[in-house]
Symmetry: C2
Subunit: 312 residues, 2 copies
């Protein structure tokens, strides 16, 4: 981090964008101009896998190297999100007074479809504000939550030794997004077998010729295996830099993000119109009361919104 | 079910709507006209709670009463979705040749934000085609997956006796959506304590004055507790019919669904324009290559899409 930053103003900026995105385009544009392309580490896995403890120790490890860390937590069961057991919350407190660490939780329900966007924006804020490393912790189930991992430069999938859990996890689509596997709570029975099974799966299903996802054993509650994990993250980052497929992938990601951002903007605009415009509001209320067929109503409304827009 | 239906044509209709919604408005409108308001039972809970086994036995129970059942599975780990262990799949086969049962899995990744809409549409299809009962099975984590449960008339949250699991589940937002709790795998230690704990929580946090969510014990793998569960579902349905708050809630739901549907329609329209229109496509490519600031590009594009639309 090059300059002394103001964490309170950072927090305010993220909230402002989250609460009123349409009015925050100017801020987002300025942040984008300051963006440096900080690597994003994604940590995902089923509830109870120990993701937050792992993140806690990763922060500690990075702080030991004087690196500043910005964390975005999207796991509803994460202690970062404030929903956890007292023990967890106290454990996390050790970073509370550290100016080199910033933790933000996202993912309150109700922000329909807006969670991916909010995470993207928050990551942009952390990047522009000058953190050395960004970490996104997200629960490894759910369409939105899995999609968010596409923001990560490197994605770590955290499992526990119980075999059933692993099977569930892999079924849930985690296999394809893993750059690194971590078998956490490795002092439990079955850790070694799990490692062997995962390594066999990785060997069969190598998503990239240049990188075979390693399988690491950690005991996050004791801080064991953290240094090795961080080493693997750095190695993966180095490989990516030399991989032309990665640059193509980043381009495709930016394309998809822009399409999504534009689409969301018009969607929000129409939703507001439907509530504020008298005529449209009347249709909405008829639909709510089942007095008109919603699909017929849509057919009526749509043309006035989509006729224009043929270029600029 | 009043008439003999053609399951193959139902399957085709759902696929057609899923693949090209903008062109399916006519079909949706016709389906809506046939809609009868069939009750929807939602089954949710963490992966591994035994949701699918429970659904399997519920189907069996309802078939015993000659009721026809349509199931939508949105759990990526559900055997209905095809990702399960062989044993599960074979177990489910017992309904494969039954014309009174239709099972559809949804939730392939990639359909950004479209999962709620797809579930809504599929439920409409099942309703219009004449099933007596609709069941939606959804994994109990993830923003989209939890939101989908708002479609359900009655929501059953399935837990297992392990306390950690319960705590995680309740933190993840399942507490507020539960109309009925099921402690499944009730032959495991801790089932009774879990029941007592849940009952205490329900008593403290009654979301509706007229209904206190009951806590039931089941052993779904043995079919035990299923009849009691179904009885509770029916009781909850009866209570709702007399509850004026429920009618209000349904109205609010239809309002939100219509807003979402209109919003999604214009969003898709804009996304297609951005790819098909030459000028817009050029901007998109510049954004992808980081040659222009995406927020500046959005500011440029937006006005031509949102200026109109002041009523009809």
């Amino acid at each position: 981090m090059t300059k002394c930053m103001n964490l309170r103003s950072l927090s305010k900026t993220i909230s402002q964008i989250e609460n009123d995105r349409p009015k925050s385009l100017k801020i987002l544009s300025e942040l984008y101009a300051k963006k440096r392309g900080v690597p994003i580490l994604g940590i995902t896995g089923l509830p109870g896998a120990g993701k937050s403890t792992l993140v806690d120790h990763l922060i500690h490890h990075l702080r030991g190297q004087s690196k500043t860390v910005g964390v975005i937590a999207i796991d509803p069961s994460s202690p970062f999100s404030g929903g956890a057991l007292l023990g967890d919350r106290i454990r996390m407190q050790r970073h509370a007074t550290d100016e080199g660490v910033f933790i933000r939780s996202l993912g309150s329900r109700g922000a329909h479809g807006g969670l991916s966007q909010a995470t993207h924006d928050a990551a942009l804020c952390l990047d522009a504000y000058g953190f050395d490393q960004i970490i996104i912790e997200s629960v490894g189930v759910g369409q939105t939550e899995l999609d968010i991992m596409s923001l990560a430069t490197t994605t770590v999938v955290v499992l526990v030794p119980e075999a059933g859990d692993a099977v569930q996890t892999l079924k849930a689509g985690l296999m394809e997004i893993a750059d690194i596997f971590v078998v956490n709570k490795a002092d439990r029975p079955g850790a070694e077998q799990m490692k062997i099974m995962l390594e066999a799966m990785v060997a069969m299903d190598s998503k990239m010729g240049t990188w075979l996802a390693p399988v690491l054993l950690t005991k996050a509650d004791k801080g064991s295996g953290i240094a090795e994990l961080w080493k693997a993250v750095l190695q993966h980052g180095e490989i990516l830099k030399k991989d032309p497929a990665h640059a193509k992938h980043q381009e495709a990601l930016r394309r998809a993000q822009f399409l999504e951002m534009c689409g969301e903007a018009v969607k929000q605009h129409l939703k507001e119109k439907l509530i504020s415009d008298k005529k449209l509001k009347a249709i909405l209320e008829k639909v709510a009361k089942e007095e008109v067929n919603p699909y017929e109503a849509l057919k009526k409304i749509l043309p006035s919104f989509v006729r224009r827009g043929r270029g600029r």
